[in-house]
């Protein structure tokens, strides 16, 4: 549908200053942090749920695709308007964030920045653990719909464990509530968990009730380097089997270490095959003992060096090494393909070996880092999307990464979501029948297929991702 025509339909429903039609504005909502550029016909910045419901009803009537979008930090294409139509910019939705200390919950609107929830919860002595690396930018609505969690999943679980109630505009324009303010709730199907991680294909969240927990009193951090990758893997599993549950366990491979040291010389062990960062939190006395034990386990597994942070500054320095990964690897080329294939923890060394073999086979700049504690690795391929020849090798390598993860009993995506980029591989993990069951759910909720079409489900005949333009 043409922009002017669509504008005429939308205008009676939405205030003028909340509808963007200019070409510059439309191009500004044509992308996210992943791949591709799709020009929407119109952008709406809804103020309340009633406006959203009315737009959805209109969309059903005229079969217009609608794409909810938070801060568009998605790495899987979750918010891309791949079939044109309307982008619903939820970042400008009314902001509401209230902490209920008695019930240990937060009630939030979808436009709230996740980092603001962390801050408000902490001011009340509470804690909202999910912490994707973009949490200072991303909206909670986007986090919930993508079920993105960050490094604390190992100890505290993922985002879905913290969502106990939702208000949702369905794909047919009804406003429903799921769950509630109680941690226990077995009334009917658990629609809350169905919506969380549905990538905006089953509904638009307009309010969420989040569970909070008491804030850990203290934390301790160490960095250990290993001459052999396999030793770092054993250190990870042995720490966990020794009865310690760290709040974070991060891993970086040698190419990643070198990239960081190259970018900003901070004394990284460039000869090491891998480093791990381990953080424990809890009662001060308990974690003092735990970090010692972690240190000992690392040495038992032939760690070359173990640095336990003694001050907050040293702790910040350790995490700085991890934070520098992103800028460091971007220096290696303009295009970064960030995957999040996840395997059972015990398979991490094997998975990394497979990744390195893929790197050699396709001669690519592939670095590996990630949340090793929960098996969620982030293999990143650094390339240049204008180099068509190399991009073909990238396409093939990405396919093999997914294959490796699934063969090792893992999954395509730990937290970035399927979106457009992993849709072709759904059957590989779930089988035909598995994908079909999901498709049936989608069809039942969204009979006209207007909400975020082109995501999760492969297009007919599509078996691999093609990144070349």
């Amino acid at each position: 549908m043409k922009t002017e025509e669509l504008y005429g339909l939308v205008r009676p429903l939405i205030p003028k200053d909340r509808v963007l039609t200019q070409l510059a504005d439309r191009y500004s909502y044509s992308f996210d942090a992943s791949f591709g550029e799709y020009l929407p016909d119109l952008v709406i910045q809804p103020e309340n749920k009633e406006q959203i419901a009315s737009v959805i009803k209109l969309a059903n009537e005229h079969l217009i695709p609608v794409y909810p979008r938070g801060a568009a930090t998605s790495l899987s294409g979750g918010s891309l308007p791949v079939k044109g139509g309307i982008v619903l910019d939820m970042s400008q939705f009314n902001k509401k964030l209230s902490i209920d200390k008695e019930n240990l919950i937060a009630v939030v609107s979808p436009s709230v920045i996740t980092g603001d929830i962390h801050q408000k919860a902490e001011e009340a002595g509470l804690f909202y653990p999910p912490d994707p690396s973009s949490s200072h930018v991303s909206t909670i609505g986007g986090n919930l719909l993508e079920n993105s969690s960050g490094p604390k999943g190992l100890k505290y679980g993922t985002t879905k464990e913290y969502v106990i109630g939702l208000e949702v505009v369905t794909p047919t324009g009804e406003i429903i509530r799921t769950g509630g303010k109680t941690v226990k709730n077995v009334t009917g199907y658990d629609l809350t968990r169905l919506i969380v991680g549905s990538e905006g294909t089953l509904g638009i969240v307009t309010e969420a009730i989040l569970r909070l927990i008491p804030k850990p009193q203290a934390r301790k951090t160490l960095l250990a380097s290993f001459g052999r990758l396999v030793d770092s893997g054993h250190a990870i599993t042995n720490i966990l089997s020794s009865g310690i549950l760290p709040s974070a366990m991060e891993l970086m491979d040698n190419s990643c270490i070198r990239a960081v040291e190259n970018y900003t010389p901070i004394g990284m062990p460039v000869e090491a095959e891998a480093i791990i960062i381990v953080e424990v939190d809890g009662h001060e006395a308990a974690i003092a003992e735990e970090i010692k034990k972690c240190e000992a386990v690392c040495f038992e597994q032939n760690a070359i060096e173990v640095r336990v942070a003694q001050t907050e500054k040293e702790r910040a320095n350790i995490w700085n090494a991890r934070k520098m990964v992103s800028p460091a690897i971007t220096q290696m080329g303009p295009t970064k393909i960030s995957e999040d294939a996840t395997v059972p923890r015990s398979e991490i060394p094997k998975m990394i070996e497979r990744l390195h073999a893929i790197r050699e086979k396709y001669q690519l700049n592939l670095v590996v880092f990630g949340h090793a504690g929960d098996g969620n690795l982030h293999p990143n391929i650094i390339t240049d999307k204008r180099n068509t020849e190399e991009m073909k090798r990238v396409d093939a390598a990405v396919g093999e990464i997914f294959e490796a993860a699934v063969q090792l009993g893992g999954t395509l995506s730990g937290e970035h979501g399927i979106g457009t980029l992993k849709a072709p591989y759904m059957e590989m993990e779930l089988g035909k029948a598995g994908v079909l069951m999901m498709q049936k759910i989608k069809d039942a909720w969204d009979p006209n297929g207007i909400l975020n079409p082109g995501k999760i489900f492969p297009q007919p005949g599509q078996t691999k991702v093609v990144l070349t333009q």
Binding site: L20, Q22, L23, A24, D25, Y27, S28, Y29, S30, F31, D32, A33, Q45, A71, A72, T73, D89, S91, Q92, I113, S134, H136, V137, S138, K323, S326, P327, T330, Q331, P334, K336
Partner: protein, 444 residues
Amino acid sequence: MKNSADCHQEDKYISLLHDLTYEAANTCVQCGYCLPACPTYESMGKESQSPRGRINLVKMAAEGKIDLQNDLAEPIDLCLGCRACEVACPVSVPYGEIYEAAREVITLQQKDEAKNPSVGIKVRGHVLNNVFPHQKRLRLLGNATWLYQKTGINRVARKLKLVNKISESVGQFEKILPPVESPLKRYTFGETFPARGRKKATVAFFAGCVMDAMMSNINRMSIELLQSTGCEVFVPKGQTCCGALHAHQGMMDEAKELAKANIEAFEASGAVYFINNAGGCGAMLREYDKHFKGDHEWEERARQFADKSRDITEILVEFGPLPYMKEWNGVITYQDSCHLLNVQGVSGEPRELLRSIPGARFVEMKGSDRCCASGGIYNLIHFDESMKMLDCKMEDVKAAGAKTIVTTNPGCLLQMKLGVERSGLENTRALHIVEVLAEACGIR
């Protein structure tokens, strides 16, 4: 529809934009980490008014997908150029370069095609070309302002609301112009001021254009403060406007000519540091080398000039302590100059100096590192947008309970004075850091 000749013309500008900055624009990974740092994204709430959005639009324009004038010009025009996004960027995208390149090409096309530039652009061009680079004209303007203020004509004019009728924005600024110093008290170019006590270094002072004309008292106090810490201060003759305003408006050729004049004037001084007291100018001076990339004659000279350039607060901390004479009363807060903070990376020194004043209670206000929306001459050209951001800022000043708001740049200083006036804060002063330090040292 455009005819083919038009299209051919346009291709020229598109390929120029492409050559200048497409590579840089492509380094953006669109992660969105810059969004919370951007004052215009916060106040306008649109992706096209964010750093990520603007970089993408530059890319789209360079690919010929959108029009330079119809689509790209407005978002670029509405950027404050505060460069807070560069600090937030995890992959070091050179936003300043992309922004200036876009401005340059947009302005060039308007000039070439005499495409009826908007009133704002015309006024900008005229003022920048005909006033800022000319010390005498500016000083004349400053002197006239002094006469105007001293004779009381301004009070009459204000009462009659004559000025307000001309233009709301200029009218509001007229009210907050600082009193200009008598021409008799001014320093002269080419003059050397001796160090007090043991001489620690010879430094050269950059007077700036606005600072020299309208706030020469702050320049004079700057020289005295430097003297008091043991600096011999030379004010090189032949120096001129730094060219920042020109560069930000896309007038790169003019900016480079000014830069060359300054490099020549200062390298002859033999001083160890070239000192300025305006964050915006300082940022430009420290980036002179970027403007002469690949220029055999000037690149190295520009780099040496940039290396020696310092903000006055850095020098006062290095050579201090200052000889304080008086106790300060009330809470002081500090508003960062974006170009001092985001481009020059100076944030500790001004705060350290303010904390060192006897009796002063320094309170950090919320959002002190966020642009005050002065933005060079942004507040004159985009008055409404700017005032919206300024009014939010004044709420933070109130919350901090500050009686003195300190800045390190003339544009920010005028903007904060305007903020005080607009918000009706009583017994609250907006001062340049040099004024605060001078007052505490008994320098008048």
